[in-house]
Amino acid sequence: MRTTHLYAFNNITLGLGTTEFVDENQETLVAVGSSFRIMDIHNFADRMNVDHPLSRNWRDGYQLDTAEQQYMALMEYFPIDLSFSNPVGMGSTTPNVGTKTIQAAVENVSKAMMIAILDNHGKRSSTVGIASTFGRKNVFFNCLVKKEYRGIGTEPWGTWNEPVGVCTPTSISRSNNVAIVTTTPAHGMSTSYDDWGISMNLNTGVATSFNISTHFSPNGVPVTIIDANTFSYKDIGINTSISSVVGIASIHVGWGGTSNNMRILVL
């Protein structure tokens, strides 16, 4: 097994020691006091959806994130072929190829197993659900099949992406590619949970640039709750502020629970 692929297997998105996360605004916290603590986030690269952006909406298989990975996919045996004792050609020149793809695959399989085994199709539950092995296998494979073979009446494609509520944005702004939304009345998302997501659906003019495509984010995008009436989400675009908007925001639940913060404790 090549070293970098072992790293890929061993890590999903967490980068201890980094100060910023791709999908998070939260920084690693290091505290030195009576003990040495590192607080960090352990979560999936895609915190909201069943699958992973690398594989989503790909017609016949898996979207590879670099051109070089085409070769690996075409060889049918990745990453297993990388354990060749005397690799030649592609394998010997590209030990780093496939890292993200392997991480995505581990992530997708982990999600598929949780959906198949846990209550509430894996959402916010730590309890093993009641189902036959046959039923669990069906759900597991349904998470991993190509899009055209999905059983859309079977979980996770049946109800997993459905919103759990709505809120009403009244104003919105974007600064440094972060959108801040104010709602009236309160949005209702409790700070007790860390897995809220949102699908914006605004109706008029420039405000529509804040909308979230359900094509690319079928279960919304993760949000950071600022207060009872305000939340933010990453949204690439020009800096702008709109004082009055019309539309709704659907509220979703993704992967998480009361808290997925990983606490490393060194005594």
Partner: protein
């Protein structure tokens, strides 16, 4: 196959129960799965690429256990390791960042330039020691990985003779993307990337020849592509459809839709009969590809068609993926939506609960709808708020998902799609043309503007 399960450095009522179920389910999954065989409950070929290999899936299951168990432990919230890790028990070891991994690999002597990768690839023999890309010697054997590569690299590598090192200074040395337009139009690389009207020359000629044909499928196949490349946009109705496809072309697709919608369930091992040859292009005695939707050609979208302006009807998606006949509705529209008056006869498959059509006449079809777009290497129509076939405005147009940033060129986009490329004009060549009329860079929704020589998606709404 025996799993090498990792140690779970934490415990608790919930996580212990989860781990037991996880391992049991993983065993059942692997026992059921056989590489590339049609096994219960899902055939391996239906899985996305990384999961088709039993060995790979086993690895993912092994490594996925720790992560999913960790999340369960976190959710359970009980105390002990898993909520407060000792450093040595963390599931996360030292990690290379992206830059660190790159530096590490380069210090091992690995280079990441395209030229180096291609050079290595071209000098790499097949696993059995035979020459790579000797496509002629593989015949119809699909067991060789090199045979699969033949389609992908057809025309880019010499079919026989000693593979040679790629020399970027050699003008005769073909490279996968750059040489395409060079060979056809003798254009420079930059010219190949820029949208240009010459990209439409080939489909225009094909469309011209097709217009002499009496086959509506052939005429529509090229005519609709030209409509897209010319950037006409709008909604193609029955009148315009018949102008492109010929008189009564709308009735042709209505009749064909009716016939294909009630095609019986097929399995992978159903052999074709003589009638299938003439109607659908299947070879008698050979296995028929199973239809896309649980073995059927139709998927019920809604039992209420009022949103489509038809009362009392149903809305279906028709899959043409398993149709082999060329040219056919598969080449014209691919999968598309049709709306009925509700008088078709339906049934439910007891095996999987799938609703399908047992009998329908063409007169039951009241609408055929589709969006003619390319959601990967061309323009994509966003339909978050309305329906395929509805009128739209430019704000609903955005680049296909292969255009990931402002630097992605048409060649980059088609190169990614290259793993799927078929052969012939409607396989590889048309994709280069479609991508060329898109141009370089990603256009987000709201930024699309009409321009000369720029393609544009359009809607199709046929009413009866």
């Amino acid at each position: 196959m025996t799993f090498n399960w990792p140690d779970i450095p934490f415990s608790g009522t919930e996580v212990d129960a989860f781990v037991v179920e996880y391992k049991a389910l993983a065993e059942a999954i692997i026992n059921d799965m056989d590489d590339y065989s049609d096994v219960h409950p899902v055939a391996a070929f239906k899985l996305k690429t990384p999961y088709q290999s039993k060995q790979n899936l086993k690895l993912y299951l092994e490594y996925g256990l720790l992560y999913s168990a960790f999340i369960v432990k976190q959710r359970a919230g009980n105390s002990g390791p898993g909520t407060d890790f000792e450093l040595g028990n963390s599931p996360v070891g030292p990690i290379f960042g992206e830059d660190q991994a790159q530096d590490f690999a380069e210090r091992l002597g690995c280079t990441f330039t395209k030229e180096s990768i291609e050079c290595s690839f071209r000098n790499s023999p097949d696993f059995d020691g035979s020459q790579l890309m000797d496509c002629g010697s593989y015949g119809s054997s699909f067991s060789s990985t090199s045979y699969n590569l033949c389609d992908f690299f057809d025309g880019y590598f010499p079919p026989e003779g000693e593979p040679s090192l790629a020399d970027p200074d050699d003008p005769d040395e073909p490279t996968p993307c750059n040489d395409f337009w060079g060979k056809i139009l003798n254009k420079s690389e930059q010219d190949q990337e820029d949208p240009n009207c010459l990209a439409k020359a080939l489909p225009f000629l094909a469309s011209l020849f097709a217009s002499f044909s009496g086959d509506p499928a052939l005429r529509l196949m090229y005519g609709l592509l030209m409509h897209y490349l010319n950037g006409y946009g709008g909604v193609v109705d029955n009148y315009e459809w018949n102008l492109i496809g010929g008189t009564m072309a709308d009735e042709w697709i209505r009749n064909t839709t009716s016939a294909w919608a009630q095609a019986p369930k097929k399995t992978r091992y159903t052999n074709a009969g003589v009638n299938d040859l003439f109607e659908y292009g299947f070879i008698p005695g050979q296995p028929i590809p199973n239809h896309e939707f649980n073995g059927y050609t139709v998927q019920l979208v809604s039992s209420n068609s009022s949103a489509y302006g038809v009362s009392g009807g149903r809305v279906w998606i028709l899959s043409t993926k398993s149709m082999i006949k060329f040219p056919s509705i598969k080449n014209v529209l691919g999968n598309y939506t049709f709306v009925t008056d509700g008088n078709e006869t339906i049934a439910t498959d007891p095996d999987n609960g799938h609703t399908y059509i047992t009998s329908i006449s063409s007169s039951n079809i009241k609408q055929i709808r589709d969006d003619y777009d390319f959601d990967d290497y061309g323009w994509k129509l966003l339909r978050d708020l309305d329906l395929p076939g509805d009128d739209f405005d430019n704000d609903q147009i955005q680049s296909g998902f292969l255009y990931t940033d402002d630097t992605i060129t048409p060649c980059n986009a088609v190169d990614q799609e290259g793993t799927q490329v078929g052969q012939g004009f409607y396989g590889g060549t048309s994709r280069w043309i479609v991508a060329n009329t898109h141009g370089t860079g990603r256009t987000v929704a709201g930024d699309y503007t009409d321009a000369l020589c720029k393609s544009k998606p359009f809607a199709i709404k046929l009413t009866f």
